[in-house]
């Protein structure tokens, strides 16, 4: 009884934070009129990218964080989603929003099928197998036989959608809302999935596969379906990226993208839903800031040569892993725990009799 009450309380606590966050996101695009800036559309675009990455990281998190299967090849599913959406829009003239369900089905199918060979492979071996996906996909996309569809190396240029119903907002504000809507649906779905029986099964398999099997969980089925759902999430993120960037090309989906998802996952926090949002934001901000930071360093120390922005990225990552080994979400929780612990200790010192009394009650 006590345990369930505590977890309910925690969940409600997180719920308030989540509600506040999503409301903040809803209001954010309206800031444009309050604080007019010429670059506002660019910030909206950054916001879109953050949500796109957050969804992709969530997809990877479902697989790695909650089911214990490691993937270094999620860039491939991202590419599949992006190209499916782009080809549907260009060759079949579909509206952007109608591509999402198709992308979901295609990517779920692809992920589900890839899940079968994945069953045979454990941890490192699975990581390597998915790694090959990440390497192969950009090459395949350039292949002559499908260049008619994919546009080859030059990729496909898309039309950016206008806001519907003559809404008085800019296309970028509108796309921000579109991404936000998708993110809300997908995070809500993931939250529900993880909270229920399936989620517990997924995590049981992660923690001890054999034990989970003896408990009557169909581990193969759960693992393949999780792979499918994970690919579905990442694929939708890919489609959203194609729509918001209005351009797809094989080079966008090279190995660094798959690694970026993993970095986002680890930085945000493995096995944490808010961690995915943090990871998504981190990926976008770090790309933007490491370049500016490199410029600042060059100017302040009047260096002869550029400081490579990748080096800054690396140092940042190292620092972060050292300070917060469980990711930012984990770090925040730990910090909160530490502060709460200290407060409790202070309280203990101040009101000793009360504590004794309550301890006595427990027994």
């Amino acid at each position: 009884m006590a345990a369930s009450a505590t977890s309910w309380a925690t969940r409600r606590g997180i719920g308030w934070w989540a509600l506040a966050f999503w409301i903040f996101m809803l209001v954010l695009p309206l800031m444009g009129s309050a604080f007019p800036s010429e670059s506002f559309d660019y910030y909206m675009f950054m916001g879109q990218s953050m949500m796109v990455y957050a969804i992709a990281v969530l997809g990877l998190n479902l697989l790695t964080g909650f089911n214990g299967q490691i993937s270094l090849g999620h860039g491939a599913f991202f590419a599949l989603g992006a190209y499916t959406a782009a080809i549907l829009m260009i060759d079949f003239g579909w509206p952007y929003w109608a591509t999402i369900p198709v992308v979901a089905i295609v990517c779920f199918g692809a992920g589900f099928l890839f899940g079968f060979p994945a069953l045979k492979l454990e941890s490192h071996y699975l990581a390597l197998a998915t790694f090959t996906l990440a390497i192969a996909v950009p090459q395949l996309l350039k292949h002559k036989s499908i260049a008619g569809w994919t546009g080859g190396v030059s990729g496909l240029v898309l039309e950016k959608p206008d806001p519907p119903f003559g809404l008085p907002i800019s296309p970028d504000q509108f796309l921000f809302y579109f991404c936000l809507l998708m993110a809300m649906i997908l995070f809500w779905a993931a939250f529900n999935l993880l909270r229920g029986r399936s989620g517990r099964a997924m995590m049981a398999i992660r923690d001890h596969g054999m034990a989970a099997g003896t408990m009557g969980i169909d581990t193969s089925l759960y693992k393949t379906i999780t792979f499918g759902i994970s690919a579905l999430y990442t694929g939708i993120a890919g489609a959203l990226s194609a729509i918001t960037v209005a351009y797809v090309a094989p080079d966008s989906f090279a190995l660094p993208l798959s690694i970026a998802f993993l970095v986002g996952l680890v930085v945000g926090g493995i096995g944490s839903l808010p961690g995915c949002l943090i990871g998504g934001a981190f990926l976008v901000l770090v790309q933007n800031w490491s370049q500016s930071l490199s410029d600042v360093l060059k100017e302040t120390f009047s260096l002869q040569y550029d400081v490579p922005s990748w080096a800054i990225y690396g140092v940042l990552l190292l620092l972060l892993m050292y300070v917060m080994p469980t990711g930012i979400a984990g770090g925040v929780l730990r910090l909160r725990g530490a502060i709460a612990g200290r407060l409790r200790r202070v309280e203990t010192v101040r009101s000793k009799p009360l504590v004794l009394q309550s301890e006595g009650e427990k027994h």
Partner: protein, 409 residues
């Protein structure tokens, strides 16, 4: 215009705050500014491959930056300094899309100047035209840049690849007995544009003449296996459509494996510093190309006034760069062209006027172009440079021969 402006400012000091406000509004009525322009600054964006496999071209961006440093040191353009923001896209189209967006939307540049590479520019072509931001003097010779009807905000600078390919084909038909041709081509729009022009020039027997076309990706490490394939065809002509790194590799490899066809090397890889010296000059003797700028290693130009000025500029503003690299010539020359266009704009520095001035160049003699070549544009003609001249690598420089061959002629 400048003294006039100073006078106004002096008066406003006397009149105090109210007067200042009034002058500022009147100044605004007089001067028409697009995004990125103020009384003291013009913000210009640029993308270049400073890293990656095409990084040899990065010299273009550094040369342009050095040119604008000189302009700024000399007082700027009509009193406005050039703020040249040049970013590294590593020749990767998605990166170019990202950076173009950043430059246009976040940094609010007046225009994108000489973004480098065919595929990177194809990727932002539509975006720039939708946003109505000039994509000016594109550092790529793809023939699609000269389409003012559909893309009025994009303009190239150098001679187009299609025509150049056509010129090589005609030269082969005229000069090589029983030609059999092997082609190495970069697998993108740049490679296709050259090849299409080349095939057109070869006429109806094209499929008999070309024995094999091998391709490579700009992200590949080497082209060695492609060269072995091509050698096995025993072709007596080798048409080399590559960027500098791969051009150097292929020329060197051909010599190593003892394949000695007549070699045609595309202009964009014909840099002594970036391609031929790394390939080994002894391996490159007799290679043919078509050029439109003065080869800085050719002693013939040592007294030409524009060469003297270029050399002085190189020594003062671009001292770490390679004197033998043609990119330092083109980067300088198209920066000069933008300089003239912005000067011609006067105080009407809107995006519309920039395009209008760029499309009104009449026999503009840009420095370091071959004698007889000038810049000409009109509302319907967005190809500034239309002529080239054939050249043969002789000892350590390009030896020109024949007449200027123009796009229309």
């Amino acid at each position: 215009m400048i003294p006039n402006g100073t006078k106004i400012r002096r008066r406003s000091v006397l009149l105090g705050a109210a007067g200042l406000a009034a002058t500022m509004s009147s100044a605004r009525a007089e001067n028409k500014y697009g995004p990125g322009v103020t009384d003291t600054e013009i913000k210009i964006g640029n993308t270049n491959p400073y890293s990656g496999n095409a990084s040899a071209y990065g010299a273009n961006g550094r040369a342009s930056a050095a040119y604008f440093r000189m302009v700024n040191e000399q007082g700027g353009i009509n009193g406005r300094k050039i703020n040249f923001i040049s970013l590294d896209d590593a020749y990767s189209p998605p990166k170019t899309v990202e950076l173009a967006r950043q430059l246009v939307e976040r940094d609010q540049v007046l225009l994108l100047f000489a973004p480098l590479g065919t595929a990177p520019n194809v990727a932002i072509h539509k975006y720039m035209n939708q946003k109505k931001v000039p994509q000016l003097f594109i550092a790529s010779g793809a023939s699609q840049w000269g389409d003012p009807k559909n893309y009025p905000w994009s303009m190239g600078w150098q001679p187009d690849y299609h025509t150049e390919g056509l010129i090589y084909a005609k030269h082969i038909l005229k000069n090589v007995k029983n030609p059999t041709i092997a082609v190495l081509r970069q697998n993108d729009d740049f490679g296709m544009d050259y090849l299409n022009g080349f095939r057109e020039g070869l006429g109806k027997d094209v499929d008999k003449l070309i024995l094999q076309t091998a391709t490579y990706e700009v992200t590949d490490p080497t082209v060695e296996s492609q060269m072995l394939q091509l050698k096995n065809t025993n072709a007596n002509v080798f048409f080399n459509i590559t960027t500098p790194k791969f051009a150097a590799q292929s020329i060197k490899k051909a010599a190593e494996i003892g394949w000695r066809p007549a070699q045609y090397l595309v202009n964009v890889a014909a840099s002594l510093g970036a391609t031929l010296r790394p390939a080994g000059l002894e391996n490159a003797q007799g290679i043919l190309t078509a050029i439109y700028v003065k080869d800085p290693t050719d002693t013939k130009w040592k007294d030409a006034p524009d060469f003297v000025a270029w050399k002085a500029w190189m020594e003062k503003y671009n001292p770490n760069a390679d004197m033998a690299d043609g990119s330092n010539v083109t980067g300088y020359s198209f920066a000069w062209t933008l300089h003239q266009v912005l000067k011609a704009c006067g105080n009407d520095l809107t995006r519309e006027n920039v395009m209008l001035q760029a499309a009104s160049m009449k026999a503009l003699a840009a420095p370091m172009l071959l004698p007889g070549i000038t810049l000409n544009t009109s509302a319907t003609d967005f190809y500034p440079i239309k002529a080239v001249q054939m050249a043969r690598l002789t000892v350590d420089h390009w030896e020109l021969f024949g007449d200027l061959i123009s796009r229309d002629g």
